[in-house]
Symmetry: C2
Subunit: 352 residues, 2 copies
Amino acid sequence: MAVKKTSTKRAALRRTGPARHKSFVSAEQVAERAGVSRSAVSRTFTPGASVSEDTRRRVMRAATELGYHVNHLARGLMRRSTGIVCLIVADVESPQTARMVRAITTRLQSVGKVAMMINISDPRDDAADALRQTLNYRADATVVMSGTPSQAIVRSCLDNGQRLILISRDDKIAGPHNIRLDNAAAARLAFAAFIRAGCRRLAVINSNLGTPSLTAREYAFVAQARAAKFEVTVIREGGMTSYENGLIAARRLFSAEQRPDGVFCVNDLLACGAMDVARKEFGLRVPEDVSFIGFDNMRQADWLSYGLTTFDQPVEEIADNVAALATENGTRRQPARVEILPKMVWRSSVRI
Amino acid sequence: MAVKKTSTKRAALRRTGPARHKSFVSAEQVAERAGVSRSAVSRTFTPGASVSEDTRRRVMRAATELGYHVNHLARGLMRRSTGIVCLIVADVESPQTARMVRAITTRLQSVGKVAMMINISDPRDDAADALRQTLNYRADATVVMSGTPSQAIVRSCLDNGQRLILISRDDKIAGPHNIRLDNAAAARLAFAAFIRAGCRRLAVINSNLGTPSLTAREYAFVAQARAAKFEVTVIREGGMTSYENGLIAARRLFSAEQRPDGVFCVNDLLACGAMDVARKEFGLRVPEDVSFIGFDNMRQADWLSYGLTTFDQPVEEIADNVAALATENGTRRQPARVEILPKMVWRSSVRI
DNA sequence: ACACGGTTTGCACGCGCGTGCAATATTCTG
DNA sequence: CAGAATATTGCACGCGCGTGCAAACCGTGT
C-alpha cells in the first residue's frame, strides 16, 4: 500500500510538477487512469499475456486518451531484442545503393524491425565508428554495405552476440554472415557477350577505389580475355565509381590511337558516363561502333538514352536474406555464406 | 556491503551462468574488473564528470579489455534525449530523395544524432504508423519528407514533447516546424524563362499524386501564363512523378496537333522521361524545337544526355536547418517556418 | 597538531518496462 | 454447495544507466 501511494504521488507530481516540461506518458500514468496495476498495462501491450477483456478495454481507453506509446527503449532493456537493425552505408546517393537501401528497409519493416542508417564518409573506411554506434544502440543486427570492417571490431560485435551481415564485402573476414555476388562469373559472361558481338578491342573501366568486388570484376574479365589471347586496356579513374569518373575515363580511352569496340564498366554509373562521352564527344554509335556492358542494373540503365546491357543485382533477394538472417534466433554454428549469380539483362548497348 | 556482494555475485553468474548466451557487457562488469564502483564507470563515459585520472585509466583499460560499449538505450531512459532522429520517407529510391537523405543523415551525424529511417509505401499515406514508431523509440525529433500526417497524430507527437519537422509539406498543419520551398516563385521564373526563349505553346507535366508542393508548381505556372494570355496544356500522368510517367505524358503531349515548344515538368524525373521521348521518339531537338525546365536539380540533370535547366533544392541548407531544429533545446513559442527560394540552374535545355 | 577547502568516491534511487510468483477472483465439476 | 481447476491480478525485482548527496580523501595553511 505504501508503495502504491508513493507511485501515485510521483505520477501526480509529473503532471502538475514544477518541471512543466512536456514529457512522454508512462505506463504508470495509464495504469492510474485506468484504475489498474501497471502490470496490467504491460500485459495489455504484450501479445499473448493473460489479461481479461474488461481490463484490456479500460487500459486501451486510458492509453488512447493519454496518448500512450510503449517505450521500445525500455522494452529493449528487458527483452533480448531491440528491433533495431543498423545499415552501414557510404554513398546513399548512388542509385544502386539507394535501390538496395529501399529494398532492405522495406523488407525489414515487414518483419517488425526498424532500420537505423549510419553514413560513413569513405568507403575504404574500416567503419569502426559506425560499428561502435551499432553496439551503443544494441542493434539486433548490423548490415554492412560499405567499408571494410577490421577484424578487431568484427570480433567485438560478434562477442557481444550481435548478428553481422556483410553485403558484397569480398574480403576474407571470419565470423559474420556474408551475402555476395559471383562477380567473376558475371565478368566472364560479359566477355563472352562481347566476343559473340564481334568485338575485338576490349577495355575495362574501373575506379581506383579498390573495393574487392569491383576488383574481382575487373580481374576476372581481364583474365578471361587474356586467356583467349585478347588485348584488354584497363583504365582506372578517380576515387569513386561515379558518372563523372566514367566521363574522364572514356575521354582517355577514346583519345588513344586504337579505340576499343567493347567496354566493360564495373558499374552502371561509369557506363553511363562512358557512353555519353562516346556518343556526344566522339560521335560514336552504340552499339554499332562500340558496345558497353555495365553492372548493377540501376534504374537509369533502362532509360531511353542508355538502354544499357548490364547485370542485375537482385536487391529483393538480397533483402530477403538480410531479413531472414536478422530475425533468426537459433544460434547457428556456421556463419551463412550466400552467393548469388547476377542475371544478365539484355538491352541495346551490345550488338547482337 | 551486502548490496556489493550480491551485485558481484550477479556479475559472476552472468559470465559462467547456465544461460551461456552471448550478451552485452555492462558497466557493472567493467567496474568489477577495474576494481571501482559502477558510478566511476558511468562518470568515465560522461563528459564533464568528476573522475581522477587514475581511475579513468583503469576503467578505460577494463572497458576495452571486456569490449564494453555504453548502452544508449538505457542512457536515453535517464537523459531527456535518445539521440535518435526519425526520417519518414516514401521513395528513398528516387534520386532527389536519396540526395536529401544523404545530406540530412550526414549532417545529423555531425551533431551527434543518428538517423532512423521509416519507409511508408504510399506518399498519400497519413504516416500514422510511421509516427507511432517514432514515438515508440522516443526519437528526439521526426523529419517528415513524405506523406501528409493527420492533425491527430501530429498532436500526439507534439503533446509528447517531440520535435516535428516537415519538409515540403505545404499542407496547412498547425504545430510542427516547416521547411518549404517557394514553389510558386520558381514556377513563375520558369514561365519567364520560356517567354524570353521565345516559346509560345506551353505545357506542364505533372502526376496525379496531388502533393501540395507539386500542385503549387503547376498552378502557379498556369496562373502566370494565363495572366499573360498564353495557352497552357496540362498533363497529369500516373500516380508517381517517375521517369516512366514522364515518358507516357510526353507521348500524349507530342501526339497532339499543336506540339508545345516549352514544357515545364514539376520534377526532374518527369523531365528526363519527357526529353527522351521528344528526342528519341519524335525526333525533336532540344532546345531548338522544344525547351524543357525541371525541378530538383537531381544529379542526372547534369548528365550529358540531358543538360536539364532546373531549380535546385538546396539540400545542404535544408539539412542545416533540420539539424538546428533537431538539436535546439530551448522551448520556443512559435514553430519555425523556413522558406527557401530555389535557385535556377541554367543548362542547355532552354534556348537563350 | 588541527582546521579547512577542494576533489574524488560510493551509495542509493529512479528512468519505463517485462515477467515470475503468489494471491485472489472466477468458473467448472460432481 | 464444497472443492478443484483455471483465469486474472498485483507485487516485487531487475534490465543498464545517470546523478544528487554525503562520506572519504587529499593537500595546504596555521
